[in-house]
Symmetry: C2
Subunit: 192 residues, 2 copies
């Protein structure tokens, strides 16, 4: 998606350790017009797949998922990361390792909100090692739901998550795939 690639080139900041900071428009401050363009593009890609629900993970996936959901006219469910008084009863859980936060945590979704009839589109801001996606896939599989694919804003193509998940048969549509981030701050995108 050219608009997103241009925005990453313009406002993304490359940091040591393969960190790409896009906090001015994607995951701290959020450009809602850009999210709407991402929603149009994801609907172009998945609009024929009879999506019944969008599933994401807190926190930075939620904003994108909610704006994108308007094009599919479906509700959003977000997997919670922490224990809370308000999440009781029967839940699906899975364990996720976070590269960015350098820790392992549980994600949880109430069984009330995922059903075997559901056709799920997974949404997240980043795909790197793929751990968050594996956790969401695990939870959807526990529910017996169909995952039609994953819509990702930025995939780090030089990390293994995308290849791993595609080999497992997951359809992944990443709106921008970063193949390399160079020491001079330039970013190379995979042609799509």
């Amino acid at each position: 998606m050219q608009l997103l690639e241009e925005r990453i080139r313009k406002d993304g900041i490359v940091r040591a350790g393969n960190v790409l900071k896009v906090d001015s428009f994607l995951n701290h401050q959020m450009d809602i017009d850009l999210f709407n363009e991402m929603g149009k593009e994801l609907f172009r890609l998945f609009g024929e797949d009879d999506v019944t629900k969008i599933v994401t993970i807190e926190a930075s996936g939620i904003g994108i998922a909610c704006v994108v959901a308007q094009y599919f006219n479906v509700p959003v469910v977000f997997a919670k990361k922490s224990e809370s008084k308000n999440l009781d009863g029967d839940i699906y859980t899975s364990t996720v390792s976070s590269f960015t936060k350098n820790k392992v945590y549980d994600i949880r979704v109430s069984k009330k909100f995922l059903h075997k009839e559901d056709r799920i589109l997974l949404i997240d801001d980043f795909l790197a090692k793929g751990n968050a996606m594996l956790g969401l896939l695990d939870i959807c599989q526990q529910a017996g739901a169909t995952v039609v694919g994953a819509g990702i804003a930025i995939e780090k193509g030089f990390q293994e998550g995308g290849e791993l998940l595609r080999k497992r048969g997951l359809r992944i549509e990443s709106l921008a795939i970063v193949d390399a981030m160079n020491e001079d701050g330039t970013i190379e995108f995979r042609p799509q």
Copy 2:
């Protein structure tokens, strides 16, 4: 807002300890059509206030904030709750006690995204004791920004947050104010 009150009556669940579960439409599964109606109502209420930015707090405020922001045509900034490799540099911080999660945590916003020229609308799903709002207010004050008010989905009118914040001069527009939750599961709303 009648639509929200009706939805709370229909799908909200009253639990012991003054817990109101609205996880089927507000803060776990999210009804995006409802969020759009909330956006229209909040724009009716704050549309003349020259809002330049919406500020919320992760996680359950983010979805509402992003949908509401479309009516104001402004970006959203969400305060982060946890330390992360991706949030570096100069940040505003404040400390928040969570009633629901029974713990104290820091919230953080990058200084890059709040400026003294900003006119901020705060958004959150719940207002109870007001601690999250106090933390967001503190951060906006540190930035020298103007807070035009707070748009809240559900205020627990029997807890002290709303009164406390209004006494401090904050304009709060709560789309539904729950004045009592009874043992038989019925909910009393404050007439607005």
